[in-house]
Symmetry: C2
Amino acid sequence: MDQVESVRDFNRYYTRRLGVLTDRYLGQARPLSEARLLFEIGDRGDVRDLRVRLGLDSGYLSRLLRSLERQGLVRTRAHPDDGRVRIAELTEAGRRERAELDTRSRAGIGELLERLSAGQRRELIDAQRRIRRLLRLAAVTVRPVDAGAADARRCLRAYAGELRERFPEGYDDTALVDPAELTGDAGVLLVAYEEDRPVGCGAWRRLAADVAEIRHLWVAGPARGLGLGRRLLEELEAHASGHAVTTLRLGTHTALTEAIALYRSSGYRPIPPYDSSPYHQLSFAKRLAGPDVSWAG
Amino acid sequence: MDQVESVRDFNRYYTRRLGVLTDRYLGQARPLSEARLLFEIGDRGDVRDLRVRLGLDSGYLSRLLRSLERQGLVRTRAHPDDGRVRIAELTEAGRRERAELDTRSRAGIGELLERLSAGQRRELIDAQRRIRRLLRLAAVTVRPVDAGAADARRCLRAYAGELRERFPEGYDDTALVDPAELTGDAGVLLVAYEEDRPVGCGAWRRLAADVAEIRHLWVAGPARGLGLGRRLLEELEAHASGHAVTTLRLGTHTALTEAIALYRSSGYRPIPPYDSSPYHQLSFAKRLAGPDVSWAG
DNA sequence: CCGAATCTCTGACCTGAGTCAGGTATCGGC
DNA sequence: GCCGATACCTGACTCAGGTCAGAGATTCGG
């Protein structure tokens, strides 16, 4: 069986098993969308927000809320600052109901886990962690973005903020590269998106005819551990390679230990300092294989 | 986060990701139940069978078939041997449609896999295999069954048939234990069920006040590799232990290499032959820890 | 202060999915 | 050849889930 077929097969099996579980433990009495809404409201939530998060039609959501209100599970009131927006909050009964649903769902999973040994349970959870990491990584798309655009600036601001925290000497924003230097043949800024949210970036900037430097490689906190840094680095190399760059340099700070490990394991070798940036305590370089190299394998 | 929460979290993530995929690649134009039916019919299938496999109401299934027939995707005719049963088969257009759905679904998964490296793909598939194995194992329930009941006899017949194949000298059914000896304090037959289908069995039979023997430990072909043999053995030990048995013996055939490995790794030690069965080329024994031992951890 | 935009709500409508109660044809056993 | 069981079909119904068009309240920008 090929890989695609194997994944499809797993999907079929998993959804079927999951269906049985949720049918038995959650789907009693209450429609699924109401149950989901109860969870999503949390203790309170404004309706506009709920609509976006659950992706529901405003009319439909309104009706669902009305239904929960009739059942005494939810109360709504106007937003204090914006009279158009309404706030939904769970009543005491609503909180009990949600806790009940929660307990039932936990019980279903708990029963399932009980039939496994401790080692098997750990194996299950570990395998789920791996799958999730890989699926998240596969969901991330990386594309060039104008360095002055909103998403790009948000990434760079987050990057700078983090360096300010991590460097004992702080970080001065003026060390950021000028957006104008990352266009056309002069360089590029790549932004990684997970479900339309920017979760990482990286740039290369030309230093000479066939030499460029990697700058501002950054991955947002919640997206770390996916292997996204490596992927960004690889995409930057491929992109630079396609613009006649044969040597990549970069400078980094001794405080950034994960980054240093990444560079080393990606084939970057230490070199003497190539510029005077105070943040470049260590410098590295790598010779690229050529524009037709396939890094995706 | 505790284990139950971790599993729930994975379920939520996975169904959401899966939902996006199937929405985008399968849910176009054709209702899900029709699509599923197209797949399930295969090239042909009798309606009775489809009803059971898909778990549908007969009226509903009939209507679905009528709809597919109107669309020219399915043809039905009477069963040659039984005029009550109808046979559904795909027309040329139906086969094209199914192939189209298949391609689209494959494409979705394929795109996802493409964004991973070869090693990551392998890791994903391996993790899915593990999860599936563990979930199947967790879905299996083991319970005592009267050795004369239909399910029990089916298992024992399958067990005997397999030994007949695997032993060079064949196997004589009269060597099977007498059902009457597996009741009350004299012994028990446990049957393992996966979703209501019997997929394995095992028995213990009393030989003396505190001695019993394990007999007829068997796992159906499709359920092998789940660790079900070990689980049956453990449940037999616990059950025997609860009936004042302190020593378990068993005899086995040199041809049953997996079984021998299982016994050895479960704490059974070789002993001289304790009976004259021609099939007991090797004999083992194990001392049980006591009736209150917890084997489930 | 006006007009456009935003937010919620209501009513009308639709589809998919499925249940339930019969009815008809056929079969298997006697 | 009759009777009960089996397999199917039809019609009537329910429910969840969701879309669409507008109305009414409120806010925002100029």
